[in-house]
């Protein structure tokens, strides 16, 4: 128990460290001494350009940028980001897009888990031929690019409005009334399909185990076996894939924020990213990954504990 916590915290530190190393990578292979002043001039609206720009290894520049970033993290509340020749304070401002994105993300996660569980159970409980059709549909949907699904969803919502005059949900994002339902729906489609497919696979693997035979021998009803026994065991093996699920959702969220014009954290990070203040991007990325890291850690610890208990019973 304590060793897993120790290992997890070590991982947390390492991941943070790597974020620090990855973000200023452009500084590693481009000599920025001429580039940065010219960029400032362009942002001021003056005509300026760099003529010669060659690639080279710049260890010294990279380490300088790194130390500057660490220094700015020491003074976290006053951190600044750069935009159009001016520095602005990052901190009260980043909270709003962050909270919006997290809200959408967690509601979508909840919805997609619910959807996946219901799809998975339906596939198992329906007759075999129908289940196969649903499985085929799942595989088909999974191979559609997220961009297409989101664009289609948006167009469908608008077409529905044009035909019937009923606005199902707010489509456009405004400052007073952030649209939540449409992005949540868009964000939950592909993850729920992904999760449902995993769940079905795991449940089918459970089917051949001995306890199912015992349960059948006892004369329990098949729906009862699937819902109570098989499902409960299958859901544990799907938790191994939670990282891929998270990654899928995050990259979907990224595209959704762009397509549905939501001022979420990922779009904010792209907007505020500049060579003058890479620390703002690092801070935002850390804010995104830490809550999920903790969530994963708690989940894996719970699953491991459950596994141990199951081994003891066996």
């Amino acid at each position: 128990m304590t060793t897993t916590i120790k290992k997890r915290s070590l991982q947390l530190v390492l991941t943070t460290l790597c974020l620090f190393l990855i973000i200023p990578i452009p500084f590693l292979f481009i000599d920025m001494t001429d580039v940065l002043p010219v960029l400032r001039l362009i942002d001021k609206g003056e005509d300026a350009s760099v003529l010669v720009w060659e690639l080279s290894l710049e260890w010294k520049q990279y380490s300088e940028v790194l130390t500057n970033m660490v220094k700015s993290f020491a003074d976290l509340p006053n951190m600044e980001y750069y935009q159009k020749d001016k520095f602005y304070p990052l901190f009260p401002e980043i909270i709003r897009p962050y909270m919006l994105s997290m809200k959408i993300f967690f509601i979508a996660l909840f919805v997609s888990v619910l959807l996946a569980v219901s799809i998975g159970l339906t596939v198992m409980l329906l007759p075999q031929s129908l289940g196969k059709v649903i499985k085929g549909a799942l595989i088909f949907t999974e191979s559609l690019p997220d961009l297409f699904v989101i664009a289609l969803f948006q167009i469908a919502a608008i077409a529905f409005f044009e035909k019937t005059g009923i606005l199902l949900f707010q489509i456009i994002q405004t400052a007073q009334q952030p649209a939540v339902l449409l992005p949540v729906l868009c964000l939950s489609i592909l993850p729920s399909v992904f999760l449902a497919r995993l769940l079905v696979q795991a449940m089918e693997e459970e089917l051949i185990k001995l306890y199912v035979e015992t349960a059948m021998g006892k004369g329990l009803r098949s729906a009862y076996i699937v819902i109570v026994h098989i499902f409960r065991n299958a859901i544990f093996s799907t938790t191994h894939h939670i990282k891929s699920l998270f990654w899928l959702m995050l990259s979907n969220l990224f595209i959704i924020e762009y397509f549905l014009n939501i001022n979420g954290i990922l779009r904010y990070l792209v907007k505020t990213y500049s060579l003058f203040a890479p620390q703002a991007t690092v801070a935002g990325l850390i804010m995104i990954f830490v809550p999920f890291f903790v969530l994963f850690a708690v989940l894996t610890i719970l699953v491991e504990r459950k596994k141990k208990r199951m081994e003891l019973v066996a």
């Binding site: 059948m216 995050l250 990213y273």
Partner: protein
């Protein structure tokens, strides 16, 4: 390999990709002049029918954009570049990751664990965001200072490198899995040198997995291309033209019609001329679907015959495969 060719999924996927590529390559030869730019459309009696962008019609299968250019021609022109870039990216990624995997395998255990943990970081940043962060200062700001060759080499190099850590770690996972198989004990006892073990004992098992990963990487590079298109990063190169006198509104004039650029240049069309955006997106759908079919075929053709050789007893394996369907049937019947 023979199993692969027998797989219908694999064949359909590959032939769709090859057909699209061939048609796209030949299309320009057949039609050397791009279709006429139609800003205003009249019917036969000379009555004004509308102005560009026009919705799909007989003359323009996928409609036209605001500049009056035929979208079908543009999408067909770009197909070969997109497919080529995706294939090239996937291939480069696999080659570099394979080298990375071998280097990592030969490092001392502690250091290897450390580096593997570090590579986990890439699972917490969306690839498109990472690509934007690393690519944008390089290719967006001063792109005119590069020659074309440098521009491509740089962008493709970066898009390759951001995926390498994750793939290398996945490959290491596969190799460890192979080393756990029963026959590997005897391999160790025989005491061949590392190169020999790699070549004769690991590669036969690793190769199918590498091929499958290659297919998956084609899909993920296509997705990444579509995503960075939305962010306005152009790999194929574009010239900006002013749409108003002050030059505040600029539209990209595409040089090669690569699909990610088509997506990038038409993201705001979704509100008033959705076909302009849906044309390249539809292209992506077709190609990604074909690539996914290919991967599915590879999985069926390459992995199943290896499953029998896995460390599990063959009897149990076969029993499992047969009874999944039967058990379902029995469950239904038991009720």
């Amino acid at each position: 390999m023979m199993n692969l060719i027998k797989q219908p999924f694999f064949l359909i996927g590959v032939s769709i990709l090859a057909l699209l590529f061939a048609v796209s390559a030949v299309y320009v030869e057949l039609k050397p002049d791009p279709p006429e730019i139609e800003l205003v459309v009249y019917n036969k009696e000379g009555k004004l029918m509308g102005k560009a962008p026009m919705p799909p019609s007989e003359n323009h299968w996928l409609g036209t954009n605001q500049l009056g250019e035929d979208m079908f021609y543009k999408v067909m022109m770009g197909a070969k570049y997109t497919i080529m870039i995706a294939l090239g990216l996937a291939m480069l990624r696999m080659v570099v990751s394979f080298i990375g995997c071998i280097l990592l395998m030969n490092l001392p255990g502690r250091l290897r664990m450390f580096l593997v943990e570090c590579a986990e970081t890439f699972k917490f940043i969306p690839a498109s965001l990472l690509a934007y962060i690393v690519l944008s200062p390089v290719i967006m700001i001063f792109f005119w200072t590069y020659t074309d060759a440098e521009y491509y080499a740089l962008s493709i190099g970066i898009l390759t490198m951001i995926a390498v850590p994750t793939i290398s770690v996945a490959l290491i996972g596969e190799v460890t899995e192979i080393k756990k198989m029963e026959f590997f004990i005897s391999v160790k006892m025989m005491g061949g040198n590392k190169l020999h073990v790699l070549r004769k004992h690991i590669m036969p098992f690793l190769m199918p997995r590498i091929l499958i990963m290659f297919g998956q990487q084609i899909v993920s590079s296509l997705l990444l291309l579509a995503h960075i298109g939305v962010l306005g990063l152009f790999i194929g190169g574009a010239r900006w033209i002013k749409m108003d006198d002050l030059g505040r509104v600029k539209k990209p004039m595409l040089m090669r019609n690569e699909w990610s650029e088509l997506v990038a240049s038409s993201a705001d069309y979704i509100w008033y001329a959705k076909w302009v955006l849906l044309a390249p997106l539809g292209g992506f759908v077709v190609v990604i679907f074909a690539a996914n079919l290919m991967v599915e075929g590879m999985k069926r053709g390459l992995l199943l015959d290896h499953k029998k050789l896995k460390s599990k007893p063959i009897k149990e394996m076969n029993k499992g495969n047969e009874t999944v369907e039967e058990k379902l049937f029995q469950l239904k019947k038991a009720e």
